[in-house]
């Protein structure tokens, strides 16, 4: 049920990208934007759509912020892959944007994808002005120097630090780097319907941490062909990860425990929350 829904939602988001990006001038930067938004699991967009459904809303409004968060995620990947950042050649099984074009186009395409994310969250089709302003404000905080970029900055600082990170430090880093956008995505459905986002926030915090632990496990145990990206980067870089700090078995146990916590947070919603619970279970079982 969850995996079929994930594939369907990815197709909805792709169609929305086609619509939105097809309306732009046809230049290298906009071609690179379209390229960067193709493929991927679209887990964040799914969380927006599914948390909206949990509140009885269909896709008409939610597709805009769902596509917006995927634009924002795509921008972060394009910039992260740059030679001056992680220097990766492969992403989602294809050359990264700066390999396909060049570094300048990758910088600009990422920049414009970030702007696009805010446009998609504030278009009149999304809902009331209050909803649109709240989505933009929370997205700005989740993505900037208190959220995702802070996590990346702490990650870079850790590379030149004399001591490896401790467990609380790496948890703080990951709460910014991947946690903040996952939390925004899961809460978006509540924001769209002007409901209390607390249960979804609890779900998302546990899910985000489980997601990152699973990523660290994947980096050690995964198959780079299935993952569509370079693996064992962290071990090669001598970086502290949840696996290096906890050991593989304890990391797996912790991820499973967090998934249980995530599911428990949604119990009050009854069977309607089953797809989101399945999503949490999937996160620690995935191969890419």
């Amino acid at each position: 049920m969850f995996s079929g829904r994930l594939v369907q939602d990815a197709a909805l988001i792709q169609a929305q990208f086609d619509l939105v990006l097809g309306a732009l001038d046809d230049v290298d930067v906009t071609r690179a934007m379209a390229y960067a938004t193709q493929g991927g699991k679209r887990l964040r967009g799914f969380l927006v759509l599914e948390s909206a459904r949990l509140h009885g809303m269909d896709e008409t409004c939610a597709i805009w912020p769902a596509t917006g968060i995927e634009a924002l995620h795509a921008y972060s990947l394009v910039h992260d892959d740059l030679p001056c950042m992680d220097d990766d050649d492969l992403r989602r099984g294809r050359p990264t944007v700066h390999k396909q074009w060049n570094d300048g186009i990758a910088v600009l395409a990422g920049d414009a994808l970030q702007s696009l994310a805010f446009e998609l969250c504030t278009r009149p089709e999304v809902g009331s002005a209050g909803v649109r302003a709240e989505l933009a404000l929370t997205l700005a905080r989740a993505s900037g120097a208190q959220g995702m970029v802070l996590g990346q900055a702490l990650d870079i600082a850790a590379e030149s630090a004399e001591q490896p990170l401790t467990l609380p430090e790496i948890t703080h880093l990951q709460a910014g780097k991947t946690g903040a956008l996952i939390e925004w995505s899961a809460c978006a459905g509540a924001v769209l319907s002007e409901a209390d986002p607390t249960p979804l926030r609890q779900y998302a915090r546990a899910l985000g941490l489980a997601f990152q632990i699973a990523d660290d496990i994947l980096d050690v145990e995964g198959d780079s062909e299935k993952a569509g990206k370079r693996l064992q980067k962290d071990a090669q870089a001598g970086k502290a990860t949840f696996v290096s700090l906890l050991g593989l078995d304890a990391a797996k146990a912790r991820a499973a425990e967090l998934v249980e916590q995530a599911c428990a947070a949604l119990d009050a919603y009854g069977p309607r929350a089953e797809t989101l619970k399945d999503a949490a279970r999937f996160v620690i079982a995935r191969e890419s």
Copy 2:
């Protein structure tokens, strides 16, 4: 009157940056953000504050989007200066961010400054939800692949084109590259007070074009020490500019004519618009 106001407004905006950036974690990226937002004329922020005053509003609300547009402008300069873009070592008389830190920090600081711009436009202090959503939506459109980034993309494409740009092409390019943010800034006062932005839009379109023609004249005739940046870049790169297309005298005449048009657009506001008119006159007389 105008020049004193510009200096006062720059100080207000600096104080706001100090407040906002001082609340962030103290890491290289946030230090680079603070560094990148220091100095400069802050013409865009001034336009927000002064167009708000034109509608009878004081700085309490307008300082937020005024600081926001300067954060957005600062991000564009940090990324523009990167080695993979314009490759500049000097900005506002100091080393550029990637020279002071490194390319990765410059990418991240620019990214977080863009997020910050949207945060500052959508904070509750700015005004009604309708105002905040409208500021964010129009800022996203002005800065992304239909606005500023499109202008930069067309600029890059022109470098490898076989034919130099024509006058209509360079006008279209500049309308995106610098015009869109200037227009957003001047219209912000009307948006904040929910008034008709049409006269300010006419003013800003003429002003934006005059600004760019003046920039091209400055690139040829200016003193790089006073300008605080490298000059004669366009001639060295063999790029078409308003000066190369029109000739120096005709470019100056066209800029003066546009400033007159900009001033005329504000006649209906009476003497209250005098500071904005002075700003337009200043734009073609500046040395940096």
